[in-house]
């Protein structure tokens, strides 16, 4: 604890917790940040499997309408709606958020800044328990009478506001409750991250000595804190509309349905950057390590992230270009939306400049990091067309939009996660992952990923609309050429899902038989590599908490024999 003198109370608590419960309870009722991180990680992966299964079912229906999908059966229109809605909700709220922010944040922040735990360990434990509750409520909502909510993850009223319209009275209320409860969990977690980073750093660690991934997770948490309030306010209003019959979004009773779109996207767009920034942080750290080179422009990356965060609050109305907003307003939001590509492009240039002249090692995490940048770039560039209000009128609600945001979210949530997971796997479990299997899994994921979504770009430009259960009813969209593209995408998805088995196999085999990792297998500088793998309770022995003497990216320093210079070495 960094605060022994000032805050005796919290300090005492943290120390008491070091004699916490034992046995199986140690894993369920622990306040150790590493165990909570693992809880988030495993819950997130479990939800990812469910979300992936949903994608498989509705992609089968789209490519081969009316077939009995193996493992699911025939898909009814209502089920199709519930599947696409919950696929989106799960992948964003129950996979990207818990894994990238909660799991990596919990695991990395205390270890990387040289603290023995979070500042509020019990709030941290509560955060996971609330999150688990929200996941259970969401899963229950899929099986209640009427089925799961089918009004899309954006949940626009009036469709979402009344059981009369959406036919899933209970499912939609449970979905909304699950989302709101989940926000409480991240609120508790986010407060912890920010306070820990500010108050618990190792002696000598100044603001510019903090590894970028910690900064990114904390900036993301701040963005989340500032953007979530209006959505919670909107969610309470929608919940009242659904359950006790108020008319906040009902135009017939003086309400305004567009209001929800503004409240939702005021949160929803910063949310994109909430999950993007941690993924960029992971990428930047991995690239510095495996390029054996100092990050090009540490401060620039940091300030760029802050600029992205500020700008992200002024772009939300590009989701309403065809919802009837004032065209002058649309112009303003076009400008802000296109502006936000500048800081993101800058980060890409920083990464390229870091790679230039480095001694690059193409390990599995490095491949994931490079793929992150390459694939995200496609997502970013296609976003320009959607941010321009003129072009968006034609692209709105087509598969072009869908392919665009999958090209951003897949690199963030899947590639970013695999990058971080394979990089910190030795620290988390004490053993190395098999590099060959890792590379097979990498190529088996990246190649099919492009085969899924490039056809969808083409389909979107051909006018294929989203959220349609069966294109047989639209003669202009039911041609053989369009079905061919849909089938390519679906088959590529099957291939990609099959290759995930390699990952799980690699994981379990490496856990049992992997080579012992030692403290610092990647010869990295940051503090988490100075302790045992896996780190003991309290991270370092009580009297050996590290001091910090330099920044986190001192690779290839000319005055040293080795090409790395750990932060904790006095000289």
């Amino acid at each position: 604890m960094a605060d022994t003198a000032v805050d005796v109370h919290h300090g005492e608590h943290a120390h008491d917790d070091h004699h916490g419960p034992s046995g199986i309870l140690k894993y369920i009722w622990s306040t150790d940040h590493k165990i909570i991180a693992m809880q988030y990680m495993f819950t997130g992966m479990f939800m990812a499997v469910i979300g992936g299964f949903m994608a498989y079912v509705f992609r089968m229906q789209l490519a081969f309408p009316g077939i009995s999908v193996p493992g699911f059966g025939q898909v009814s229109p209502g089920e199709y709606n519930a599947l696409v809605t919950n696929h989106g909700s799960i992948m964003i709220f129950w996979v990207a958020m818990p894994v990238l922010i909660a799991a990596f944040g919990n695991y990395l922040i205390p270890l990387m800044i040289g603290a023995d735990d979070m500042v509020f360990p019990k709030i941290n434990r509560l955060s996971y328990q609330v999150f688990l509750l929200s996941a259970i409520i969401l899963l229950v909502s899929l099986f209640v009478e009427g089925g799961g909510f089918g009004g899309a993850w954006t949940s626009y009223p009036p469709l979402s506001a009344s059981g009369e319209y959406n036919q899933t009275d209970l499912g939609s209320s449970l979905w909304l409750a699950a989302v709101a409860i989940e926000f409480v969990a991240f609120l508790l977690g986010g407060i912890n991250f920010i306070v820990t980073l500010m108050n618990s750093r190792a002696p000598g660690m100044k603001a510019y000595d903090i590894p970028l991934v910690c900064w990114m997770i904390v900036i993301a948490s701040i963005l989340f804190m500032l953007s979530v309030g209006p959505l919670v306010a909107g969610a309470v209003m929608l919940f009242f509309d659904q359950t006790i019959g108020t008319g906040f979004y009902d135009p017939a009773r003086g309400g305004d349905p567009i209001l929800w779109q503004h409240l939702f996207w005021f949160f929803g767009h910063p949310e994109v950057y909430v999950v993007l920034l941690p993924a960029i942080g992971i990428t930047v750290d991995v690239i510095a390590t495996f390029a054996r080179k100092k990050i090009f422009g540490y401060k620039m990356v940091l300030y760029t992230a802050v600029a992205t965060g500020v700008l992200s609050f002024f772009v939300w109305a590009h989701h309403q270009f065809i919802a009837g907003i004032d065209p002058r307003m649309a112009n303003v939001f076009t400008v802000t939306t296109l502006l936000i590509s500048v800081p993101i492009a800058e980060m890409c240039f920083v990464i390229i400049a870091t790679l230039y002249g480095g001694a690059i090692r193409l390990t599995t995490p490095m491949l994931w990091a490079l793929a992150f940048m390459a694939e995200f770039l496609i997502g970013g560039v296609t976003g320009i067309f959607l941010g321009a209000s003129g072009a968006d009128i034609y692209f709105h609600d087509t598969y072009f939009v869908l392919a665009h945001f999958h090209y951003t979210f897949f690199p963030i949530a899947i590639i970013g996660t695999f990058c971080g997971f394979t990089y910190w796997f030795p620290k988390m479990f004490g053993r190395m992952m098999n590099d060959t299997l890792g590379k097979i899994h990498f190529w088996g994921t990246i190649i099919p990923f492009n085969f899924i979504f490039i056809p969808l770009f083409v389909l979107g430009m051909g006018g294929q609309h989203r959220r349609i259960y069966n294109y047989e009813h639209f003669p202009e969209l039911a041609g053989a050429d369009m079905y061919q593209l849909r089938q390519i995408a679906t088959i590529a998805l099957l291939v990609m899902l099959a290759f995930q088995l390699v990952f799980f196999y690699n994981w379990f085999v490496s856990l049992a038989k992997g080579e012992k990792a030692g403290k610092n297998p990647w010869k990295s500088n940051t503090l988490e590599w100075t302790t045992e793998s896996p780190p003991p309770h309290g991270n370092w022995p009580k009297d050996e908490l590290p001091n910090v003497y330099r920044g986190p990216y001192e690779y290839g320093h000319p005055d040293r024999e080795e090409d790395y210079w750990p932060q904790n070495l006095p000289s």
């Binding site: 000032v6 920010i194 108050n199 660690m205 309030g229 306010a233 906040f248 003086g254 305004d256 920044g551």
Partner: protein
Amino acid sequence: MSAESATYPIDSRPAPVKREPIIPNGVLGMLIFIFTEVMFFAGLISAHAIVRSQAAGQMWPPYGQPRLPVEQTALNSLALLVSGIVLVFAWFAYRREVSAARIPLLLAIVLGGVFVGFQGVEWTALLAEGLTIQSSTYGGFFYLIVGAHAIHAVGALLGLGWAFHRLDKGTLTASQLGTVSAFWYFVVLVWPVLYWKVYL
């Protein structure tokens, strides 16, 4: 490398020292939470403003809906504001001598309780006059916004009560008092804004 080293000398750094945080953990955590709460109320108020500006015939309150008790609430708001001021005195008293904080802290709690209680009395009167959360968006936003504030006020009062209990036992730390006070200040300071937007 060399340019970076010049602006940020690696070797000439002073030895690491343990530094005290500028803001204690509890207070900092509470401040971040308050930022989120400010945005929450900002969301409610802007939703209210948008719906109000679109009201049929610019009638607000809409036809057939009772008027809000503007004057009584203004008086009642005074109790809340005074409670906030008294709590500032409790803080300074605590810094001077711990036990001296007892009376101002208790007074702040009682005044806060008076505010919440009279708001409740007001609600029963309005409900009797036919203003419910379903009767119009006017009633909906009134109960939503004022109700959200009331829930926050009750939560903050429970926090102050907990601080008073610890003060009695002699285990209250400055950081704890600061944490619960920060939340009460938020409840007090957000109220005039809500009053202005909802009642006037």
